[in-house]
């Protein structure tokens, strides 16, 4: 069983509740939509941030995503999960912006993230230190790698949910995840 690690994790939220909120909004209750924004603002912002790597862009995209969802709420098909729908919009909007700005750099194969060599071995091995190194390393990775790692490890989506959001099959999801993790581990100089 998966356990959420941070507040408002999208892929573990109450799906029935989401549907009810969408229905209430469609019948004129704007507060219901505000509740959806409060619930999903953090995961959507994080998804956009990990694709775009710029806070300003992530903010703009988050706003655009929610307004687009509000505008098209009547197009939402309740047989799918709400977060898959909103995530797909967020991912597509982020990738579109990235293409327009063309500020995505290619990942160099030999990029390594230096550990804190001034600290002792125990300090280097501490989870917090490692997490900081991972974050830094992820920032240098290709968009597709950052995307699958974010969906799986930060938003806690299952393979099936990731396949729905990215519109690829589950086998490809597994393969991309594996490759992304392998590359991430390769970027950590002091991993062993």
């Amino acid at each position: 069983m998966r356990v959420p690690t941070f507040a408002a994790v999208a892929c573990t939220s109450d799906e029935d509740d989401d549907r009810v909120l969408v229905e209430r909004y469609l019948s004129g209750d704007r507060d219901a939509f505000t509740a959806l924004v409060v619930r999903y603002q953090r995961p959507i912002y994080n998804a956009a941030f990990w694709v775009l790597r710029r806070h300003e862009d992530a903010h703009d995209i988050s706003q655009t995503v929610f307004l687009k969802v509000a505008e098209r709420a009547d197009e939402y098909d309740p047989k799918y999960k709400f977060f898959s729908w909103i995530y797909r919009i967020a991912v597509n909007e982020s990738l579109n912006l990235l293409r327009r700005h063309r500020h995505e750099d290619e990942l160099e194969d030999d990029v390594e993230i230096a550990g804190d060599e001034s600290a002792g071995p125990e300090r280097q091995a501490s989870a917090a230190q490692l997490a900081r190194q991972l974050r830094k390393a992820m920032m240098t990775m290709a968009t597709s790698d950052r995307l699958v790692l974010t969906l799986r490890h930060f938003s806690e989506c299952s393979y099936e949910e990731m396949a729905q959001i990215l519109e690829i099959d589950e086998k490809t999801v597994k393969s991309r995840l594996f490759e992304a993790r392998r590359r991430l581990r390769g970027l950590l100089k002091d991993w062993k």
């Binding site: 704007r30 603002q41 706003q63 098209r72």
Partner: protein, 312 residues
């Protein structure tokens, strides 16, 4: 380039992702128990998974909820509402989201969507709609009154057709009936002799009175209608204002709540960070102390050994 990965590694990832079945998990346990190298690899991946779970996530920016709520369009119309003959897209100065572009900052935030939408937009607020409707009613009322006045004038006043009038521009000439002279007054003549002219005068007076009554009645109706419209509009505006106040209050409450949550989260993160750092520092200190002790022990042993060698 894609590296080859073994089925065993795939199984490890599936188990760590929580996607493996119970049978697969058991199978992995057995294989790890029999293969120390595989166990080491699994432990390594497990450490990476755990560290990924510890990567700090960004907090959503303050004011995101408020800005979205403020720019929120009216709920989309359902399929049955789409046959409206006059869609409001004719209203200028509004985007397809129904809010001015400046809400999203620069124009790049308003790029065309990747998915075409068939939903018509609502570009004006309910308050604006009610005002426009009120204006329309006023114009309609004025038109009706003007038409009624023309009809009444035609019925009430029987203008004679001017003779010898050429063209349409002619000096205005007021029609005057020839005044009664003394020759018209004949004393002792029975009333029946002037019956025709008296009847005509009375009929004219009756028509004039009726016309005046009608005009007064219409004026009263119009005034009542206008008053009712104004009251309705005031009520609608008051209701809209009240709703806006309520929404603003709710937004402010939410923002305050979020700020509080954010502060609490940051404090918790800081505390956790400090605790982790402190623990790591303690571990490092202990390690250093142990190293120091070991070095001292080694030094002592060497000295003892040297002393022993120096003794005859």
């Amino acid at each position: 380039m894609t590296a080859k990965h073994s089925p065993l590694t795939e199984l490890m990832h599936a188990v760590l992702d929580g996607e493996a079945s119970a049978a697969e998990a058991r199978e992995l346990e057995l294989r790890l128990a029999a293969d120390p190298a595989a166990r080491a690899e699994f432990d390594d991946w497990q450490r990476l998974f755990h560290a990924l779970g510890e990567v700090a996530q960004e907090h959503a920016p303050e004011g995101l909820v408020a800005s979205v709520t403020a720019a929120l369009p009216s709920p989309p119309r359902t399929a049955g509402d789409r046959g409206q003959p006059f869609p409001d897209r004719r209203v200028l100065g509004h985007t397809r989201f129904g809010f001015p572009r400046r809400v999203l900052g620069e124009s790049r935030a308003m790029q065309p969507p990747h998915v075409a939408s068939s939903t018509p937009t609502r570009s004006i607020t309910m308050t604006q709609q009610s005002r426009i409707f009120a204006h329309r009613k006023a114009w309609l009322g004025a038109g009706i009154v003007a038409a009624a006045a023309v009809v009444v004038a035609q019925v009430a006043f029987d203008f004679p057709v001017a003779k010898d009038v050429v063209g349409t521009v002619a000096p205005a000439e007021r029609y005057r009936a020839a005044p009664n002279g003394s020759e018209d007054v004949k004393l002792g003549v029975p009333a029946g002799a002037t019956a025709n002219s008296t009847a005509t005068n009375e009929a004219s007076r009756a028509i004039a009175e009726k016309s005046a009554d009608l005009t007064a009645q219409k004026k009263a109706d119009l005034s009542a209608e206008k008053k009712a419209d104004l009251t309705a509009q005031q009520r609608a505006e008051l209701a809209a204002e009240k709703k806006a106040d309520l929404n603003a209050q709710k937004t402010a409450d939410l923002a305050a709540q979020k700020t509080a949550d954010l502060t609490a989260q940051k404090t918790a993160d800081l505390t956790a960070q400090k605790t982790a750092d402190r623990t790591a520092q303690k571990a490092a200190d202990m390690s250093m102390q142990r190293s120091e002790a070991a070095r001292a022990e080694t030094q002592r042993s060497m000295e003892m050994s040297t002393n022993r060698t120096a003794q005859p």
